[in-house]
Amino acid sequence: MNSNLIWLVFTPLIGSAIAAILYNYKFLDRLITFSTFAITLFLVFGTHVGQTYSMNLNFMGRMIPLSWNVTHLSIFMLYISIVFGTILTFYSLMDRSRMKGFLLLLILAANNWIFTTNDMVGFFFAWELMGWASIVSVLGGRKERKSRHAALYYALMSIGGSYSMFFGLFTLWRLTGSFSISSNLAYLSSIVGVHPWWVLGIVSLFFVTFMIKAGIFPFHTWVPMAYAYAPDTFTPFLSAVMSKYGIYGMLLFLPISLMEKGMPTVFGLPWVNYIFVWIGVITAVLGTVLAFFQDDVKKLFAYSSLSNLGYIVAAISLFTSVGVTAGIYHAFNHLLFKGALFITLAAVISRSGTSKLSEMGGLWKKMPVTFFTFFIGIASAAGIPPFNGFGSKWLIYQSMIKQHLLFATILLFLASTGAFLYLFKAFHSIFLGQLSHNYDNVKEVPVIGQIVEYLLMFAMIFFGIQPGYILRPVGLIVKSVGLNPLAVMGNGYVTGMFSNVDMPLIGWSLAISFVFGFILFFISAKHKYVSQEDNYTAGQIPQDWGLTPETYQFSWKFYEPMEKLFAPFYRIKIDGFFRGLGDWTRITGSAVKQVFVGNAQIYTLFAVVGLIILVIAGWVA
């Protein structure tokens, strides 16, 4: 049944049409979105590697073949994106944010198409479809003015990226006469030894697009705005799934570098790859450094996403077997924990009504399930074993050290340590500390949300302790791009270059030592619970001097010493470049507008001058 590939695209489109009609009935819209995701998931169960399908598109009277081809990579990406989407849409059933289900379904259609297509027309079509659907989705966040600005900014970047790909794909078409991705890649690989600069130019046209979508270094500026001001339930999808499209694209093109024999190498890497490793590292460090000082929690985690994507890019750019394994593995892990984190953030924001860290605090007593999900999420994000973020980070370090990229590795380690800092800042400011009286009536999320949170907690622990379930399919992908996959022994081991890690053993060790900890805790002298106001205040009685929980909560300028340290960094503004470009364009626009002065005589003059110029041109020619 090969035609189910086309149904992977059409089912969400049909669902989207239905959902759009029922848009006013919010619950129905969400229900249809969820069920379409579930149906699509069933369709994915029916796909298998090696499946192909093709049909002809009547375009300018000529037939353009649209073809589908399922690879190991595409099926992996399909599974993780759709499973996560299903969970998210299930969560959104009870959500009240202004996420639009039909747009999410359009993105799903594009998602399935991008991951399975083998022709650039389909790829571009789906890419653009995903682009505009997500742009419109970003509209309608809680802060309208800001979300409008964010959407516009994102739109301009995204459209710029699309046009770059436009150029690239047609240039390839001019060279080969074919739109097929696989044959074009083969062509590029075959000529890379002869014309490396040509290949580099074409590939970089595509890479600009992918970097914009993934939010990699010079093109990262839209990420914090769009993530922060998108509807709360849409941000998880944006961060967890949509940033991976860029990674997917890069993975498609990177095998070319295997052939770059003519290129000079740095540390055994083709220098292009070397540059990309550094771009990844810069992104990772930049994301971390900027995340420290955010007060808007979604912005903070947007920068965190940036940082993690930097890791992924650095790893896959190495294009060694460990590097690619680590990159894809980290892509999965990032999807899982960042999805979980953004879902809990959506829960917190919907309950507390604010996304400002300085206005929250002490919510753990009110939302314990969310609190634990968030805790495990940040433990994963910080790479603490046995949760799921550890294995991939660990492999990334090893892949980097293997190439003797010491400075890059040190900087990545800095980013990872920094990650711990900002994650804890968010954790503290939301859940720990003093509970403001504004939130006395805050409740835990409804049952649906709790189910989702338990599910995510389980997933983060399960895939942490049993990494084999992910590493095996990743191994197949690595094999399919022509590298040697890492050996996977059992489900619990991560086999690295320098040493192995037995994840269940760590789990056992932790469990047993916790049991001892609890025994010691309960046999020793008893404790009593006191209220949060009962604190050491140097002998002052808090009520006497008008102390309120808000004033007694420490969350403003959390890392002030860091701010002093990093002050020189903030003078470099990448954002300013794009803004300047925009302002410059606007000024030019105002100037150009003056051409149309609104006077018939001048217009006549224009026509006459135009004629004279043409006549002279004819004369001279």
Binding site: L57, N58, F59, M60, G61, R62, L106, V121, F125, A126, E128, L129, W132, I135, V136, L139, G140, E144, R145, S147, R148, A151, L152, A155, L156, I159, G160, Y163, F166, F167, F170, T171, W173, R174, G582, T585, R586, T588, G589, S590, V592, K593, V595, F596, G598, N599, A600, I602, Y603, T604, F606, A607, V608, G610, L611, L614, V615, A617, G618, A621
Partner: protein
């Protein structure tokens, strides 16, 4: 060569009714609008019949004089497609006019509107460069009058500028035609095309420059397009829709008929028997038009003016596509022409409904429109997305083809298309800003009540944009045939009109 004389009705019937409408006006002024509607619906039905029943290529012979001796109309794929487009747009605007034209001299408006449609159809159908001039004048004069229609004073100013610039254009064109006639002694496009190399090259270049400049006024190419913003902004919205959806179509057609069929060479990208390559000239003018149009629209706060500038820029894009000259480029250009005509007509009609319901023309008035009128704001976004070339909307395919064709051709077209795409990012900014205003803000104003009469054309246009986006072959098949006609001068045009003529 097949003869299909009935096709002359496409011009004859509207002209006949146009002159008889004052009689109907004596009975009732409102009746004239219905007469217009019926006449144009005849035109639409008949032209769609020609298109769908594939009654082309064929010619209409006046008085049994076969070309090149007699005057003739030629119905090729291009003409069939564009005349259908003009008639259908005319029909939809006529439906809208039933609701919108209430005050003033309704009878005269109906006469002018019918004449305008007839003239535009004639421009597309004629096979004779002098007749082309006559139809151009009919279209032009009726459109000045239409543009001046309405209570607002700015309409008069806009119409006057149009009149001045357009008269210059007509004069230049006529001069060019005269020069060619003195050389060849014929006015038949097919014959001129076949014998064009018998002329003095220098004189021909001069004639070509005059003709291109004259037609560039109608085709809205810079620097001959000074009239566009004021006229579009000044005219009532139904007329602006007609100007961009009908007038511009015929103008671009005429420009490229001359440039590609008369001056073109088969199998090359060159379009000149003199020294100047007119395709290159047009490409430069078109690129300038796109860039200047989009940049001027960027800072507009007045949505109607923005649409006017955007209209200009879109015509530039059409011209870029056609001027590429390879089959894909012409395909893209014609496809883009259809898409632009549909989308811009729809957006002007929406604007008309909004202005009539008390919403202003300024971008601030669009705040929270989604809450006030979901249908109109959705339709407006559909139009905007089509303009921007987003997938699932018609504009995607045409932009795709134009960019593809430019890169296929390569050379300095890489640079041109780079500029055009940069301008498209600017375009994305101002269109998406409106979309953002409509969708992201809440409005404190009450809901709008949309009358159902103008809703019909808007709905049809919006649905057709999505239909074209999902099934591009609806238009694609015909534009491919049109592209083939435009790019094959002899086999596509000349031999269909005069089979006996020898290629020189």
């Amino acid at each position: 060569m097949s003869i299909f004389n009935n096709a002359a009705l496409l011009i004859g019937v509207p002209l006949l009714f146009a002159f008889s409408i004052p009689l109907f006006g004596l009975i009732s002024k409102q009746l004239t609008k219905w007469v217009t509607l019926l006449t144009i619906s005849f035109n639409a039905t008949f032209s769609l019949y020609i298109l769908l029943a594939h009654k082309y290529p064929s010619i209409v012979v006046m008085g049994n004089w076969l070309p090149p001796f007699g005057e003739n109309l030629y119905i090729g794929p291009v003409a069939a497609l564009l005349v259908s487009l003009i008639s259908v747009m005319g029909l939809l605007i006529a439906i809208y006019n039933l609701w919108s034209i209430k005050k003033g001299d309704v009878t005269r408006f109906s006469v002018l509107f019918l004449m305008f449609t007839a003239g535009a159809s004639g421009m597309v159908l004629t096979g004779d460069i002098f007749n082309l001039f006559i139809f151009m004048e009919i279209t032009g004069i009726s459109s000045f009058a239409l543009a001046a229609y309405g209570p607002e004073k700015r309409a008069l100013g806009g119409a006057f500028k149009f009149l001045v610039v357009s008269s210059i254009g007509s004069t230049l064109y006529l001069l060019g035609v005269t020069l060619i006639y003195t050389q060849l002694g014929t006015l038949n496009i097919a014959e001129i095309a076949a014998r064009i190399n018998q002329t003095t090259p220098g004189l021909l270049t001069f004639a070509g420059v005059l003709i291109v400049s004259g037609l560039a006024v109608e085709a809205e190419l810079f620097p001959f397009n000074g009239w566009v913003p004021d006229t579009y902004t000044g005219a009532i919205n139904g007329v602006s829709a007609a100007l961009s959806g009908i007038g511009a179509v015929s103008g671009v057609y005429a420009l490229f008929r001359i440039a590609m069929t008369v001056f073109g060479k088969d199998g090359t990208y060159v379009s000149s028997y003199g020294n100047l390559n007119f395709m290159a000239v047009i490409a430069v003018l078109a690129t300038a038009t796109v860039v200047i149009g989009e940049l001027s629209a960027l800072t507009q706060k007045n949505v109607k003016k923005m649409l006017a500038y955007s209209s200009m820029a879109q015509m530039g894009l059409v011209a870029v596509g056609l001027s590429i000259g390879n089959e894909l480029g012409v395909y893209g250009g014609i496809f883009q022409l259809v898409n632009h005509s549909i989308a811009k007509t729809m957006m002007f009609l929406i604007l008309g409904v909004l202005v009539a319901s008390g919403v202003g023309e300024n971008i601030d008035d669009f705040r929270g429109l989604w809450k006030r009128s979901p249908f109109l704001s959705l339709a407006f976004s559909v139009g905007a997305f089509s303009m921007l070339g987003f997938p699932l909307f018609g504009g995607f395919w045409s932009k795709f083809a134009i960019v593809g064709a430019s890169i296929q051709r390569g050379g300095w077209y890489d640079f041109i298309i780079g500029l055009v795409l940069f301008a498209s990012i600017v375009e994305a900014f101002y269109y998406l800003r409106i979309v953002g205003y409509m969708f992201s803000s809440d409005s404190k104003f009450p809901k709008l009540k949309t009358p159902w009469t103008p809703t019909i054309p808007i709905f049809i246009l919006a649905v057709s944009i999505i239909a074209i986006g999902v099934f591009p072959q609806i238009v694609g098949t015909f534009s491919a045939q049109a592209a083939s006609e435009f790019t094959h001068k002899m086999s596509g045009y000349v031999l269909n009109v005069i089979p006996t003529i020898a290629a020189h």
